[in-house]
């Protein structure tokens, strides 16, 4: 394409969409730009998702594909709906009174809202790590063993021991806690507690891990450890992370989605979002030019 054509083409797509009273959907933008939507297989597929809290609409007609075994970051200003949308993927919004979700969300081509879909196994397949570390008031060992025991993933005590060790190893915590597995999980430092929560999430062999600002309560060193862990985990799991730290999104994710006032404005390779985003709203947000 000649100089400026790519940008001009994008602008025309966005202007057309906006003129139609709609936010440009990323698929339209990306296909217009001639780039593949995803290089990887799709793990989660959301189509025309709308979320309402009573009368208030929090998510507006969002469609996105989440690639397998890669980290997708959701960024955007407070109240833009990124956490609400994240919670759609394991139906955590079902627990909120007055919350209504419309549209289609497919996990490996299975509709997560289908009547036959049981929410307990769904949440085992789509684990979640929250902003504040929330270990159970139990021992480190029991924090990890609880889920596998509930889901019948270990046939014997030896199996369970192995699963606990493997999960703690994958979470990079084993060497720090192997001599005190009976100690309370709440006695660990904030960063260790968060890694314990990640170990707890991966102990039940999820396919997807949702992370809602997992480092916002951690210091820079603990944050770096969790980020390093996320980078290692993406070899096995599909990860979606909501973060307010754009530098964190740039460091850990391969794709980034920008949300604004309930709409998905743009999704693309992280590198592109942080060097040459297609939409002026994304540019304004990442460069700190919001009024």
């Amino acid at each position: 394409m000649a100089i400026g054509d790519r940008r001009a083409l994008f602008q025309s797509v966005v202007e057309t969409a906006l003129a139609a009273g709609d936010t440009a959907q990323p698929e339209v933008v990306e296909s217009a730009l001639g780039t593949p939507f995803l290089e990887r297989k799709v793990s989660l597929r959301a189509r025309n998702v709308n979320v309402f809290y009573g009368e208030k609409q929090a998510i507006k007609d969002v469609s996105i594909d989440i690639g397998k075994r890669q980290v997708t970051a959701f960024i955007g200003p407070s109240g833009c709906g990124k956490s609400t949308f994240l919670r759609c993927f394991n139906r955590m919004n079902d627990t909120i009174e007055g919350c209504r979700v419309e549209g289609e969300i497919l996990l490996d081509d299975e509709d997560i809202h289908a009547p036959e879909m049981d929410v307990v196994p769904l949440r085992a397949r789509v684990g979640m790590v929250f902003q504040k570390p929330n270990p159970f008031p139990k021992s480190i060992y029991e924090n990890i063993a609880y889920g596998p025991r509930l889901h019948g993933l270990a046939a014997s005590r030896a199996d369970l021991d192995e699963l606990v060790e493997n999960s703690l190893r994958r979470a990079g915590l084993w060497d720090e806690v192997k001599d005190r597995l009976d100690a309370p999980g709440t006695g660990l430092s904030g960063g260790q507690q968060q890694r314990l929560c990640i170990a707890r999430a991966i102990a039940i062999h999820p396919e997807v891990i949702l992370m809602d600002e997992p480092c916002s309560a951690l210091d820079p060193i603990a944050t770096a450890r969790v980020e390093e862990l996320i980078d290692e985990l993406r070899e096995r799991y599909t990860i979606i992370i909501v973060t307010h730290s754009m530098q964190q999104a740039a460091r850990v994710s391969q794709r980034t989605a920008y949300f604004h006032m309930g709409r998905l404005v743009e999704v693309d390779k992280t590198e592109r979002i942080f060097t040459n985003p297609a939409h002026e709203l994304t540019e304004a947000y990442i460069t700190g030019r919001f009024g």
Partner: protein, 229 residues
């Protein structure tokens, strides 16, 4: 809730830093332009004194390059720019290098002039000195345009610059061939021919550095890297 776009950053210090960076680069561009004007005078008045001033004037340009580079490193570390800001800083860093090299080419021409002034009359009946003066004038206009497109983020004009060719083509091979013929026919002094060639080569390289500035401005504004196309 944030809903409106703003011209400036939320952190006004960031805007101040970016303005400072642009100002420093434009100052450096002005210093290089002064060198070119001084060379014009040196050519016009056959003045080795003016040429010597050009050689001395290279050092302040070098130290301005170091100052701007150091400011860029500090800006990257403190502000962690992304998006257009990142492109601006990266492109500016490249532009600074182009300006420094353009300054070096002017110094190279000045060194030649100090050694042996260009002859008024050449073997082809045209004046090498007048030809170099004319080309230098053209380069000054090009540099002015390049600095203006940088100052105003004018990608459209930068594209015109990149696509355009010098009306007076500096074709080194043709020139060399002709000069060699003149030397063999004893119509041209060898030393004069070599000096003329060196000056033409520096002008050609200078023009390339100015073209590169326009390419960096295109990247800065549009995100398209048009180098080597």
């Amino acid at each position: 809730m944030y809903g409106t776009l703003s011209n400036g950053h939320i952190l006004s210090g960031f805007d101040k830093d970016m303005r400072k960076l642009r100002k420093r680069v434009l100052k450096m561009g002005g210093m290089v332009r002064d060198q070119m004007e001084r060379l014009q005078l040196a050519l016009g008045h056959d003045s080795t004194e003016q040429a010597r001033q050009v050689i001395e004037g290279d050092r302040p340009i070098d130290s301005q390059e170091v100052k701007v580079d150091s400011f860029i490193v500090s800006l990257l570390a403190r502000r962690a720019p992304v998006g257009r800001d990142l492109r601006y800083v990266v492109a500016t860093s490249r532009i600074v290098t182009e300006l420094e090299r353009l300054g070096d080419e002017m110094t190279q021409i000045a060194r030649v002039l100090c050694q042996e002034p260009l002859p008024e009359a050449g073997c082809d009946g045209h004046s090498p000195r007048a030809e170099v003066q004319r080309l230098m004038g053209h380069l000054i206009v090009l540099l002015d345009t390049a600095l203006r497109v940088y100052e105003e983020d004018d990608a459209r004009q930068a594209e015109v610059m990149v696509a355009d060719e010098l009306p007076e083509q500096i074709d080194l091979r043709d020139r060399l061939k002709y000069l060699v013929e003149c030397v063999f026919d004893n119509r041209q002094d060898v030393a004069e021919a070599v000096n003329f060639m060196l000056v033409l080569r520096s002008l050609d390289r200078g023009k390339r550095h100015i073209d590169n500035i326009a390419e960096h401005v295109i990247y800065l504004v549009t995100g398209e890297d048009v180098r080597h196309q």
